[in-house]
């Protein structure tokens, strides 16, 4: 029981930045914008967060700095993609590579330096409770932050006016414009908000999960995984968060498996999430394949079982909208 709880605590920890970034990207994509720059944004904000914390000796200032950088990158993408009408995917991809190199370039002097981290928060009184104690009694602040962010995103998206507007601009910008919503502005706002969450994820890496900065930092590739988790999560914050924890579990199990198979070099386990990412996406699309549909039709009980397996993207995801051209 104790070991199980500790493993789970490890998953929460490893999953925290994934959850934060996934929620951020879910918000952005729900508004119809694809921010492909995640992998680079996470690295650059991780570097910034670490650099600022070291310089000012205050990790929370670092978190703010990371969020600012994440929002800044998303803002660049948003302005070029939304107002200048360029391909979101192309600009996102350029930003990915650019931010990654920028992080290595600017972070050169902070490489392998000691620096502060966010430490642990202890919630008094629950440390002795079985299971709950090891799980939540003493955890990194980013874990509490990520869990709170799941709730906040869900509540915002499905329980507030703002959430309805958010989904509306991602679903049909034309119709939203017809209802008097300033579509481009709303989209830019969620681009920024999503970017800030992604930046927070970067800070969570360099200040809590894998403290420190270097080349490589250790979170390379996480951004791509996050983009896949958003799809796996069906653009729903809770399901997306579960997906993030699933991938965190895979990362953790890689560490265990390394002990079981010492002959396999360690870096091989680090790439394990990627084939699993492809297989997950493949599995999710099976519901749309003809032979699977025929199979389900033949065995009606499968119909209910497979409900919710296939997910629909926001209808206007990645679509450009220019109100000047009219409806």
């Amino acid at each position: 029981m104790e070991i199980f709880a500790l493993t789970l605590a490890g998953i929460f920890m490893a999953g925290a930045p994934l959850v934060l970034a996934t929620l951020g990207e879910t918000l952005t994509e729900k508004a119809g914008i694809i921010n492909l720059s995640l992998d680079g944004s996470i690295l650059l904000s991780a570097m910034t967060a670490f650099a600022i914390s070291t310089t000012f000796d205050n990790p929370w200032l670092g978190v703010l700095g990371g969020m600012g950088v994440g929002a800044l990158i998303a803002g660049v993408l948003g302005i070029i993609g939304i107002y200048l009408g360029q391909s979101q995917l192309a600009v996102g991809f350029i930003l990915t590579l650019l931010c990654r190199d920028l992080a290595y370039f600017l972070g050169h002097s902070f490489s392998r330096q000691p620096g502060p981290d966010l430490g642990m928060w202890t919630i008094p009184g629950i440390g002795d409770i079985t299971f709950i104690g090891p799980l939540f009694g003493s955890q990194s602040p980013v874990v509490y932050l990520s869990l709170f962010a799941i709730f906040l995103c869900w509540w915002w998206m499905y329980r507030t006016e703002g959430g309805i507007r958010l989904r509306a601009v991602g679903e049909s910008p034309r119709a939203a414009f017809g209802r008097g919503i300033r579509v481009r502005l709303v989209r830019l706002c969620y681009c920024l908000a999503g970017g800030a969450l992604v930046g927070m994820a970067g800070a969570a890496y360099s200040l809590a999960v894998k403290p420190g900065w270097g080349r490589p930092q250790g979170c390379e590739g996480a951004g791509w995984i996050v983009l896949a988790i958003v799809i796996f999560g069906g653009w729903h914050p809770v399901r997306a968060a579960l997906g993030a924890f699933f991938f965190a579990a895979i990362q953790i199990s890689g560490i265990y498996l390394q002990d079981v198979f010492p002959s396999i070099p360690a870096p091989v386990f680090q790439v394990a999430p990627f084939p699993i990412m492809i297989l997950t996406l493949l599995a999710m699309n099976t519901g749309r394949m003809g032979w699977v549909q025929d199979f389900v039709r033949r065995y009606p009980f499968l119909k209910n079982a497979s409900k919710g397996w296939s997910v629909e993207a926001p209808a206007a995801l990645g679509e450009d909208f220019n109100p000047k051209k009219g409806l």
């Binding site: 492909l36 660049v76 070029i80 107002y83 200048l84 009408g85 360029q86 995917l89 192309a90 600009v91 991809f93 350029i94 930003l95 590579l97 650019l98 990654r100 190199d101 920028l102 290595y104 370039f105 600017l106 972070g107 050169h108 002097s109 080349r215 590739g221 791509w224 983009l227 896949a228 002959s263 396999i264 070099p265 870096p267 091989v268 680090q270 790439v271 394990a272 990627f274 084939p275 990412m277 492809i278 996406l281 493949l282 699309n285 749309r288 394949m289 000047k324």
Partner: protein, 346 residues
Amino acid sequence: MKRDSFLEQIGWLGAALGLALLLTVLVALPAGAPPFETIYVLFKGGLSSISKIGRVFSVWVPLTLCAVGLLLPFTARLWNIGVEGQVIMGAIFCTAALRPYDEGGMMQIAIAIGAGMLGGALWALLAGLLRVFGRVHEIFSGLGLNFVALGVTLWLIFGPWKRAGVASMSGTQPIDISLWLPKIGKLSVSWIGLALTITAIIAVYFLLHRTKWGLKLRAVGENPKAATLFALGPRRRLLQAFMICGACAGLAGATQVLGVYHRLLPAISSNYGYTALLVGMMASYRLGLVPFICLFFAILNVGSIQLPLQMGLDSSLSGVIQGVMVLSVFIIQGVRMWVREREEVD
């Protein structure tokens, strides 16, 4: 639609370069680097001697191979983001083909090059199949396969192809000198690599602009649904485009093994796949521009090696400049559209 005059186009190009320079200076400042001296060192490092120009061309060869190959999937409006992994696979297959030989000649080199192209093409086919039949977006299939290819390389270097006694990031046992691509004089670039690259450029030009296949591929990219109605076999066409691109990338991987590193190592692809994607975007997928942009990027890459030595800066500045340039091109394109829109309103 109104076409801009030649002068105007030059003006916009100048604006893009100016913006790129400005942005580069801006991002270089926080690193405490004197911007103009840094840029001077960068270009001097790439152009100051014949041997350096030779090295520039040895970078130009794989970069151009990847970039022209990428034009085919781009024409079909697909991103072969997996080109990086296809370079790696090409290198793996190439190394595998050479393992039985302790030494050899042109025959073995030809086999190795063929194997490299096959490796790249197969890896691209896998990404293509995932896209066409599995409906996994090519960004994810390609990217995931890049990481998998890297994993395979690591496994081979630390596992079955381990150098006797040592297993390290420095790679496998080097191949015999008789299997190296012949060099031009003392330069590090090989005439075989150059010839193959120029052949690839011409072949892609003919494929895209002089054959029915190219027209069909363009049609598939324009509208895949209509391509089905016209019975153009869009799926087959897409897979073919992917495989040819993969073969080019595999060829690039083979030249890396045979001509540059003479062994398989984890960094065998040198990021050329990703850089080639940037080249393609910056060229707006026009073949004529690709070799020149590749040349420029190659100069930056070679020159950046001097940065850590002379200025204590990280060599990734070349990547930053490349990214900033492509981004500037996109920004200026957007501004141009915006200006034109305003003109139309008035």
